[in-house]
Amino acid sequence: MSTTTSVDPVRVAAPPTTAPPVKPAPVRRWPSLFSKHTNIPGGLGGALWLIIVVIPLYWVLTTSFRSSTTFFSDAPLSLPSEPTLGNYAKVFDSGFFGYFTNSVIVTIAAVIIAVFVSLLAAYTIARNTHVVSRTAFSLVLLGLAVPLQAAIIPIFYMLSQLGLYDTLLALIIPSAAFAIPITVVILVNFLRDIPGELFESMRLEGATDWMMLWKLVLPLSRPALITVGIYNALGVWNGFLFPLVLTQSPSVRVLPLALWSFQSELTVDVPGIMAAVVMSMIPILTLYIFGRRQLVAGLTAGFGK
């Protein structure tokens, strides 16, 4: 009976205390202004970092609305004197929608594959103590320590041999494969917290592995699946090395690579490049605005202690 009832994914390693089971309040809600806890140096430092973060973002955004002529005459931090949407139109005309669609296809496919095969594996690793499943877990942990991009040349060779070079599949397969270690680790940590009795009673009622996966594991691990899915999606969406090495044609180009080619094609048209940068950010920023909590949880997936 070593199971805990907590089903919280990230705080698995919550340290045991001998104090009564009252958890220390996670957030102390101190009054923010001019209480005895007001931290003036901290506030100044925070404000300084805020400025450092905001200025480049502001510059990118305002530049994307400048015409090529006012770009050189306006002061960099002024509002655009003749705001224009022309740069965005230009980016749209140069095939942005196609690149966007490619990015969406690659991200969704890679994340679904990675999360599905990892869930199967994590279920086995968490619930089956056979030596094979323990070895598998050690391999997965090792995979976290290795800079996997070192595998890029053999991957290029393999995919060329398979005739997959310059296809979306060439991006999906390795992206999914590289997402497996972190996904398995997070899901295993989560699944180990599901009380064993639930599995035992279902087993005794004659449930097959697949039924338990479908009726028990999947519904209970939903929060962890969302967290790890977001984490992987960000990684695949922003990934650069695979597209750079494994694709070539504009028809299979994804967004980060498209940005880079815009830079080579437009070179001096800085407002055009910045419009492309802004457009590549929009989907993730939208996600951030509507699902901030889950996105932030996803960003630190697995590392959040």
Binding site: V10, P15, P16, T17, T18, P24, A25, P26, V27, R28, S32, G43, G45, G46, W49, L50, V53, P56, W59, V60, A75, V117, S118, L120, A121, T124, I125, R127, N128, H130, A136, P147, Q149, A150, I152, I153, P154, Y157, A177, G196, E197, F199, E200, R203, L204, D209, L213, N238, F240, L244, L255, W260, Q263, V270, M274, M281, R292, L299, G304, K305
Partner: protein, 313 residues
Amino acid sequence: MTTVKTTTGSIRAPRRGAALAARQRAGGPSLWFLLPAALLFGGFAILPLLGAVVLSFTQWSGLGTPQWLGADNWLWFVTDPVTYTTLGITFAVMFGSLLVQGPISMLLGVWIARSGGFRSFAGLIFFVPLLLSSAAVALAYKNLLDPNFGLSTQDGFGWLAHNWLGDKNTVLIMVILVIAWHFVPLHTLLYQGGVRQIPASLYEAASIDGAGRIMQFFTITVPQLKYTIVTSSTLIMVGSLTYFDLIFVMTAGGPGYATRILPLHMYLTGFRSAEMGKASVIATVLVLIGLALSLALTRWSGFSKMKSQQEGM
């Protein structure tokens, strides 16, 4: 109900095979469930990593079939002066990132761990850089830092007027700072989470004893954050081996060799100079450094033991 079922289970179990009984008690699924992940990860991560070792002994341009060569590539790697330049730059980026990102993220994390109007607002904005692709960050800074039309032409920013990315004495520092801008949010999040797990009672006891805020920071906050510091530092150091995309887009490793970190050296050697065998040597070295770093950090910090930091409380 659960208990009843469990009891009947343990009575019934001996009638079947021992292995099945064990599996049943655990409710464990078939090992076949490991297969899809094993095929995918084995086939497209482990096999290629081993493949890199094999390819490092061949000559291959990227087209046609690799030809067996022997140890020549390794000999090249050890004797080529560029190797040591890139190794030096890689470690400079690694420790530079550690020195810049570590303290900033810790202070910011400690600061935003408490709630409050301005802190919450700042926290909202702080994380935006992390959401951008490295390519986007690199393009933004490449143009922002341009001495002719970048930020330095703004009144009050004249001190920025320098060809930062074109001067081989300043480019590496700039790269480290841009990487910090991009990744400080991740580590801030880690520290924020770590600070929120420190029991408030520790601080209360300390202030009764008359410890000031700075004293509390060094005697309570920092020691309590030990594991967060290790996690964050490991991520920064191993991550330094993967800052390929940002540097590639921003400087392409230049000027000269000034920002050619190891992964970039691998890419340029393999895919630009069509020397896949030599590039595979670099790939192998990259894996070895990554493994050595992770092992050293977990050993040295006792992280693998994962002892509670709050024993006796």
